[in-house]
Symmetry: C2
Subunit: 135 residues, 2 copies
DNA sequence: CAGCATCCAACGGGATACTG
DNA sequence: CAGTATCCCGTTGGATGCTG
């Protein structure tokens, strides 16, 4: 009866998917050191579209990881904050962040090596049609 | 000069994306306790297609997280294993797994609560076409 | 067995325009 | 300001068939 993410229909896999979500990690990290307004999140997370930001926030809110607080003011102000559940995730995601930054160089080096070896897998080793000209 | 995943073009974000990849986590976890053959991976990770398995393995291999060893035998045998870099990720991904399993119930409860409140946002509160009948 | 190649449907996600 | 609603195209990813 233990949750097993290796089973396709187990909820724990959905949880992993949510955390593994491209933007969820960055949103949670941004909320790590305090509440943030919608616009602040959008500004801080470079490259996120508002559609994705909203969608990500709704997902996190639905899963009980963040709260959404609407202040009745003009102009409107909406604050997002981590819940206790969300904070319990902080060690994990910040660990993810630090792993990514500390091992970035190694990963990039590995990529260069891998890509350099790739031509050997080509038919003749010459005239490699990386992109078969489309169509 | 520190890598900053909040910048759209920083490599550290790509690293986070790779880890956050839907299948990468499960593949790494499967390789946690030893080498595995291609078929074993496919069997253990329920629901993964061979296209996705291959694609995920190539990505992990490219990033230097797993090795691919071809044994010249008939029938062919290919073993996948974590590299040192890959193993350095184990604490993180297993932490992710345990978080997912231990907090699964809370997340699911939060979802039920959230979804129960959703009708209030509907126009009338009745006749909610959750799935617009397809088409 | 361990894949690669191809086709195609479904979804993700960006850009844009509009609203309370 | 903080969204929602639409359009629309690129990518994802499953299914199928073939190969060393």
């Amino acid at each position: 009866m233990r949750p097993d993410p290796f089973q396709r229909n187990c909820g724990s896999r959905q949880v992993i998917d949510r955390i593994g979500d491209r933007w969820s990690v960055l949103v949670v990290l941004t909320l790590a050191d305090g509440d943030r307004r919608y616009g602040e999140l959008a500004e801080h997370i470079d490259g996120i579209s508002q559609k994705m930001l909203t969608q990500t926030l709704r997902g996190l809110e639905r899963d009980g990881l963040v709260t959404r607080t609407v202040h009745a003011s003009v102009p409107p102000r909406v604050d997002y904050a981590l819940t206790g559940l969300g904070r319990s995730l902080l060690d994990l995601v910040s660990g993810l962040e630090s792993w990514a930054t500390t091992h970035l160089a190694e990963v990039q080096a590995a990529r260069v090596r891998y890509d350099a070896d790739l031509p050997r897998r080509s038919p003749t080793g010459t005239a490699r049609p990386t992109r078969p000209s489309r169509r």
